[in-house]
């Protein structure tokens, strides 16, 4: 009983702190991210053309040359603005699914590895070390070689590189939480380990989980974009920002707008997520600031 009341009053304190208006919210990142999510959800309604619609007569149009194509068209006459908006959808979809998969797998394994320190825990951590011991692009590259291209496989590739960070951080938290009196008392009272993990340990690692997730989003977007750029991600021609930058690469001197706009989109979104993650870390857990 005592534990629940404590947790509740703590989280209420946080919410009142937010509502009181004393906490400064990071408005610029929030607005940027909202615009991106709206673009992702309503992409077909917001775009004047299909992302694969080809208008050969109006190909290679520069930005602001024709009012029908405000950001110009590419070599095949596809509308850059429409492809950018659909690109937001690709990015949001891949990063959410990949990050969620990595976070869930990493958290579960981290909880297990932290609570049961025996051979199972050691094995999980060795795997995590092996994954973290390699450059992310190399890991993703091996997975793409193994599984081939496609949305599902790029999600797996990203998730595989991400889970280990969650497992490591969560495990470190669990190691300290499980020494606390209420956990020890629950063990003495004979509560089953899965119950202890869910009811008594997990609520205490949620902060770490949220902070880590928000700080990883930017990295995940950059990784997905890099893989797409290298031709290891989605099929060529898909509306993804990394692929759009790659398509403009060979004609950069003639058609600079092909690479410029999607690159700006990636940079702005990653910066917004990084700012938001930093803010969330300071807000939820000022202790982590130094880490």
């Amino acid at each position: 009983m005592a534990r629940t009341t404590l947790t509740k009053s703590y989280s209420f304190g946080r919410i009142t702190r937010l509502l009181s208006g004393k906490t400064k919210l990071p408005w610029i990142p929030i607005i940027i991210l909202s615009v991106m999510v709206i673009c992702a959800i309503f992409a077909p309604l917001l775009t004047p053309y299909e992302p694969t619609h080809k208008d050969i007569i109006n190909s290679r149009i520069g930005p602001a040359e024709i009012s029908a194509y405000p950001l110009g068209t590419d070599i095949l006459g596809r509308d850059i603005l429409s492809r950018l908006i659909f690109g937001a959808r690709t990015t949001v979809y891949i990063s959410i699914v990949a990050l969620a998969t990595g976070a869930v797998v990493g958290t579960v394994l981290g909880l297990i590895a932290g609570y049961l320190e025996g051979w199972l825990g050691a094995m999980i951590m060795r795997f995590a070390d092996a994954v973290m011991g390699f450059p992310t692009i190399l890991v993703a590259l091996i997975i793409v070689v193994l599984l081939g291209q496609g949305t599902g496989n790029i999600i797996i590739a990203v998730a595989v590189t991400v889970w280990a960070r969650f497992a490591r951080m969560i495990r470190a938290d669990v190691l300290s939480v499980k020494e606390r009196d209420y956990v020890v008392l629950a063990q003495i009272a004979g509560v089953a380990p899965p119950m202890i993990i869910c009811r008594h340990i997990f609520p205490n690692v949620v902060n770490t989980l949220m902070v880590l997730t928000s700080l990883q989003v930017g990295q995940v977007i950059l990784l997905e974009a890099s893989l797409s750029f290298l031709g290891l991600g989605l099929e060529p021609g898909s509306p993804a920002w990394g692929i759009m930058v790659a398509e403009g690469r060979d004609v950069i001197l003639d058609m600079w707008w092909l690479s410029l706009f999607p690159g700006i989109a990636i940079t702005v979104v990653v910066m917004a997520f990084n700012f938001f993650g930093d803010w969330l870390r300071d807000f939820l857990d000022p202790k982590l600031r130094r880490a």
Partner: protein, 305 residues
């Protein structure tokens, strides 16, 4: 300490074994290498002959053992496209990647650390704000895009710098800058925060109190202590440089290991993929190990058990 080094060595060898198994399986499960070698009008007998020559008819375990035995000796077989030994093709490419990584690291250290320290010393000044902006953009902007934009500006519009391939010193400027930017950004941020922390500590206050010149306080007493986290970060980044070199070699057509690796993946040229991935993994593990051991000498407070 010796036990620690031995354990780490053991772990490194184990990780390499796991990596070799994964690479071998991924190459052999993702398609039949013999089919890639066949001319358009091949007969069943030709096909069987090629499989026989490549040793693809033997059990997979034996194939892996042979592969591993050869790989340890540096023999990865012949490239499927050029028919040259993969090892020779790899060895040709290693200097280019090492030079690029070295130039990038040097630039990051030479620019990142002094700017980070200066922005801590002159906190909230214009310089501090500019450095902060530079760092934020460096962490957020994707390297491949920065590279293309720099090619557009310095190679296309201004025509000041060469934009592809390896050549004189001017060829290094753009690729090494792009490679260095995100590491530089990390060094600036870390250098700033660790310097601020040290400047706030008792011994710095004492050094000032006894009347030492401010320059001496900062560059002799404070800097030495602020360096420790920077060395750690430098070590981690050194190993992570490989991530960046793959992308940068592709954009600048820099003839290094990363470019070879990607060409191998695109052509399903499995000896090349195996050679490049395993060698990269080997270097990566070696670097991490050396860095971990060096810490003990840099910071005597660290003790491994």
């Amino acid at each position: 300490m010796q036990i620690y080094i031995l354990t780490r060595l053991g772990q490194g060898v184990l990780t390499l074994l796991v990596l070799s198994l994964i690479v071998f399986m991924s190459v052999h499960l993702s398609g039949d290498p013999a089919l890639l070698l066949m001319p358009p009008d091949y007969t069943e007998a030709d096909y069987q002959q090629v499989r026989e020559n490549l040793g693809l008819n033997r059990p997979i375990i034996i194939q892996y053992a042979t592969f591993l035995g050869n790989a340890v000796r540096g023999d990865f077989g012949k490239s499927l496209t050029t028919r040259r030994p993969a090892r020779d093709m790899l060895v040709e490419r290693i200097p280019a990647t090492l030079q690029l990584a070295g130039a990038g690291m040097l630039l990051a250290i030479v620019m990142g650390i002094p700017l980070g320290i200066l922005s801590a010393v002159k906190k909230d000044s214009l310089l501090d704000k500019l450095v902060k902006l530079f760092a934020i953009v460096g962490i957020g902007a994707p390297q491949f895009w920065v590279a293309i934009m720099l090619i557009l500006v310095f190679g296309g519009i201004l025509q000041w710098l060469p934009t592809f391939g390896r050549g004189g010193p001017s060829h290094f400027i753009l690729p090494s800058f792009v490679l260095a930017w995100s590491i530089m950004a990390g060094m600036m941020r870390l250098g700033r925060s660790s310097m601020l922390e040290v400047l706030d500590s008792e011994f710095v206050k004492f050094a000032r109190a006894k009347g030492l010149v401010e320059t001496l306080v900062i560059w002799k007493h404070a800097l030495r202590n602020a360096m420790i986290p920077l060395v750690t970060f430098g070590g981690i980044s050194l190993a992570g440089l490989l991530n960046g070199t793959i992308v940068i070699e592709v954009v600048f057509a820099w003839p290094g290991v990363g470019l070879l690796m990607l060409e191998g993946v695109a052509q399903r040229n499995f000896p090349i993929v195996e050679a490049t991935v395993l060698t990269s993994g080997f270097f990566y593990i070696l670097t991490s190990l050396i860095v971990d051991i060096l810490y003990v000498y840099i910071d005597p407070r660290i003790k491994y058990s």
